[in-house]
């Protein structure tokens, strides 16, 4: 298992390098300009100067290599500096965002908490409600519960979040005034009151996202449960006199979870990709908003860094999902 993991990690290195290169080329070729949102009144010479100040006068390959160095060398060193108070990065430039004129990584770290709180929690909640729904739908296949589950999850797929989000805001923020319509990222949870506030402001974005996630994962759960409910070992468990609870929640569930867990693991990187639309609707300003704003502003270093981190997570969670499969399923032993 260890060698398998190591081998996969080794393969991942060239893959990731290649991906970073493709992302770079793509961003390079895509139209757009970091100065687009500057007023039209700025004369061209000034624009030229501003452009040079961003490093845009360098040829593309130099910028790519620079980024590689910054991402794989300077940034990790900087972390070391932070941790041990050393000063390796004193003389080296970190990846600087064009919009903020500040290290891109710092902003990313800053965004991480709210992203995890909202998108991550929504994923978690989605999983938590999806599993029982999937289990019951499968156990009572074709019951009304199952039928409604299918119906609702299809609706969940087909209605865009920019719509459901606004509906929630209008109902719960405008009409009922239960929850705030705007997420306060500066809120620090220190006591009960601030905790209640935090919960209140998370409810709507989490609901919107969780419903979307749940409708997807519950489908997987259902399919997997159905597969396993028909297996011979279920009959064995019943023949041993085990109660239905034990049979379903222990024997069947344990087996059904194996593929579902990997599906869930594969979905985790999307948390870090943020939820662009939902974040926008509720003003959560997480990583998704960071990415989309950076794209609009043509902040290439930021987009490149964010996208690459996302690619990195995607590749890693692919690996994790595979390894997890091996861990959960005793039948599979890599190598």
């Amino acid at each position: 298992m260890l060698t398998y993991t190591l081998r996969r990690l080794l393969i991942a290195i060239p893959t990731l390098l290649f991906i970073s290169f493709v992302i770079f080329i793509l961003l390079e070729l895509a139209p757009g300009d970091p100065l687009a949102d500057q007023p039209l009144t700025i004369p061209p010479e000034v624009r030229e100067k501003m452009r040079a100040a961003l490093g845009l006068d360098q040829p593309a390959y130099v910028r790519y290599l620079l980024w590689l160095k910054q991402f794989f060398w300077t940034e990790p060193l900087y972390l070391v500096d932070q941790a041990f108070g050393t000063e390796f990065t004193e003389q080296q430039n970190r990846i600087i965002s064009w919009q903020f004129r500040s290290p891109a990584m710092d902003v990313i770290w800053q965004r991480l908490p709210q992203t995890l709180w909202v998108v991550g929690l929504a994923y978690l909640v989605g999983v938590i409600i999806a599993l029982p729904i999937g289990i019951i739908s499968a156990y009572r296949q074709y019951s009304w519960f199952d039928q409604i589950g299918t119906f609702v999850s299809m609706i969940g797929f087909s209605v865009p979040t920019f719509f459901t989000g606004v509906v929630l805001i209008i109902v719960f923020a405008v009409k009922l005034q239960w929850f705030p319509s705007i997420y306060d990222t500066t809120l620090r949870v220190t006591d009960w009151e601030s905790f209640v506030k935090q919960v209140k402001q998370m409810i709507m974005p989490v609901t919107v996202l969780a419903l979307f996630n749940a409708s997807q994962i519950s489908r997987f759960m259902r399919a997997s449960m159905l597969d396993n409910l028909g297996q011979d070992y279920v009959r064995t468990a019943r023949a041993k006199g085990m109660s239905e609870r034990v049979v379903v929640l222990k024997h069947v569930l344990r087996n059904s979870l194996i593929p579902v867990v990997t599906v869930i693991a594969l979905g985790i990187p999307t948390i870090f990709g943020g939820a662009i639309i939902t974040e926008q609707v509720f003003k959560v300003n997480g990583l998704g908003q960071l990415l989309i704003v950076a794209i609009y502003a043509n902040d290439l270093p930021m987009v490149q860094t964010l996208t690459f981190m996302f690619a990195f997570l995607t590749v890693m969670f692919n690996l994790i999902a595979d390894v997890l499969y091996g861990v959960l399923d005793p039948r599979i032993r890599y190598d």
Binding site: D232, T236, A237, K240, G241, M242, V246, I258, D329
Partner: protein, 334 residues
Amino acid sequence: MPDGAVSVLDVKDLKTVFTTRGGEIHAVNSVSFDLKPGELLGVVGESGSGKSVTMMSLIGLLPSPPADVRDGRVLFGGEDLLKCTADHLREVRGADIGFIFQDPMTSLNPVFTVGYQIMEPLRKHMGMDKTAARRRAKELLELVGIPDAERRLRDYPHQFSGGMRQRVMIAIALACDPKVLIADEPTTALDVTIQAQILELVRDLRQKLGMAIVWITHDLGVIAGIADRVIVMYGGQIVEQAPVKELFANPRHPYTRALLKTVPHVRGGREAKLNVIEGQPPILTAPPAACSFRKRCGYAFDRCERSNPTRYSVGPGHDAACFWDFDKGAPRDV
């Protein structure tokens, strides 16, 4: 064989029907038999004749829907298993009636250790704690002849060979000292040499533990080796029932006769051409109104088309459901 003793299991008029999209399937039709203490009852019949469904109906193992046990009575320990509560049925399963399934490869849960799976019924039915259950599990594994039992308890099913998995299944079935053991084709998936090992094991265990066994198979050779009494099933019905020697010596149902003739032997003379039973097994979309074997039967006559024969006694402990009387070589006059 303790003849005449009171039966541990008495089945009367069992009827099981499956409801499918294509209509009903009457898989078991008025099956009655009994099982005496310490006896090994062999059940033979071709695939789809309802052997497994019958046995699973007894202890409510069939998924419902589609299965529906329509009728009948299963007396076990003075109680009708078809009418008792679900909880009581669960008590009986595993504790009083052990079940071994055909396919050892898929019948064990792949994600739990063998030890866990053996201990599960022990803890549930015998109220043992973990250590006691583990000790007992180890004993059981040793009993079924798995060396190094202590260590193997921690292994997962896929780490066992087919023969060993089947032994594990047997260990699970035996865990709570059941009064009745139902073995549904326990050796069909195994090699002959491994089958021989298992058969040896079962003989051994029977001597030691003395429980009553129902042994389903379609291998007449196996039946001949271990059974005391045999019932032959065809089309969801019992067509013949007899002590084992009597059955092989004097089969009284055309199907049994044909079946005995089709099998080739490793010893003795070799037929130039194998005998076959032509035709297809019946499709059980309705309860039988006529003899279900008539289409493939060499002795069939008009009466077979009209009504379904009941089981006529043809000798001591021997009955057959056929209108043809082989002793007389003429239709039975009842």
